[in-house]
Symmetry: C2
Subunit: 252 residues, 2 copies
């Protein structure tokens, strides 16, 4: 409720790194996000106007604006013309990123493990050829993995990958797929995702340790790399009592 404006400690505004690789707007956004996260800027707090803040940081208005916009896009700040910029209520900072389940779990302090059930090169079916946009004789890597956290099965993951013969089976047991692909020069940039639910099949029930016919949360993903090419089609089936998909929408 409070729309109080609070003076911030001076050290917040100094010490930006103008030579390193991190853009100024990103550094500023990071600092402001930290202030929101640690409660220095509580819900409802009104920020100074962007020109004044820019001056404090020693930045031009466009750069300061851009820093603020990063947090608006994350759903942490709200702006109104003629009024000002405020911290959103209940802004527990949370991700909904293009990251891997493996990283998510590890970041939460859980111990992710992976069992590789299927690892095979195959020539794609006609439908898959169409979906992936590859030639009929272009081999595709087909993976089926069971991901657990602290020993409890969480997700059954099925992937079809283009041009990834270098992804080794053993390495898949201990690392996230996206991380491995990134190292090999294929960075995921865009992913289109469809989420729904359905009844567990006999096999899924067995692997995920749930009741046959019970609810399964399913996610279908098409991932594109930095050149706009499809690099992966994934189908993931989650145990709904163990996993929730979270995301933030921001009106543009």
């Amino acid at each position: 409720m409070s729309t109080i404006e609070r003076p911030l400690p001076a050290e917040v505004f100094s010490g930006l790194d103008r030579v390193g690789p991190v853009p100024l707007y990103a550094q500023v956004a990071e600092r402001l996000e930290a202030l929101i996260a640690d409660g220095t800027l509580p819900s409802g707090t009104r920020l100074e106007n962007e020109i004044a803040m820019g001056e404090r940081f020693g930045l031009s208005r466009p750069t300061m604006r851009r820093a603020i916009q990063v947090l608006v896009d994350k759903g942490l700040l709200v702006r109104r013309r003629g009024v000002g910029t405020q911290v959103v209520q209940g802004s527990i900072t949370r991700r909904a990123e293009l990251s891997s389940l493996y990283d998510d779990l590890a970041q939460d302090g859980r111990r992710p493990t992976t069992e590789v059930l299927v690892y095979e090169q195959l020539l794609p079916s006609p439908e898959l050829t169409q979906l992936l946009g590859v030639e009929v004789d272009h081999p595709v890597l087909h993976l089926r993995r069971l991901r657990s956290a602290d020993g409890v099965p969480i997700a059954l993951m099925e992937n079809h990958l283009i041009a990834a013969p270098t992804v080794g089976r053993e390495e898949l047991e201990h690392r996230g797929l996206y991380e491995m692909l990134r190292e090999r020069g294929s960075t995921m940039r865009v992913a289109r995702q469809f989420v729904t639910a359905r009844a567990a099949t006999k096999e899924e029930a067995k692997l995920l340790d749930v009741r046959v016919g019970g609810p399964i949360l399913t996610l279908e993903r098409t991932a594109y790399d930095q050149s706009g090419q499809i690099v992966e089609i994934g189908h993931t089936h989650y145990r709904p009592d163990r996993y929730t998909i979270e995301f933030t929408l921001v009106a543009k």
Copy 2:
């Protein structure tokens, strides 16, 4: 696969409205999106560099950049420094907006109908008070609605609204909730959403016409308005065979 650069018809670049309320960058983004949607700019097409395009439109580089960035954020374009801007493969333009289910269905040409099951003012429970950040004696509007499309039940929606005594019961039968709130000065700006699945209860099964214990897709949402205040907490239960949640992630 094609990284062909194609000449665009000259009329694409002319006739921007410099006096109307629609920003130039939005007009340009709209035009480019249309070109992608209608196949004039097929998957993989490489765009001219941003300075050249800006000149064609008669725009400065920052404005042209901003127009392009809109489409990058939508997942339609991909950019690489030193290389250029390309149309993403398989870019069927699709939404994942902060819009209402009612609008979504209507836009798809289906006939949405709504049955209001519960419409009551109530004093929030302690937990709800905490969640909404309201006073204990602040009344909250509690709604329970069944949304159908073409006569088939799609979703069971439960909402707790702050300060919305002006939302009439009858009107709810024929319009979307968000649209009604917008008219009353409360525009949704941010929504934090959690998606999972669970087994249908007896009541849900009856209302949604599914099997008891069968899969239900559930979405929990906290919505904030333009001043960062919570205005709604919603729980929606979807029939998974009739509804899929779609969203696009873009790496920043």
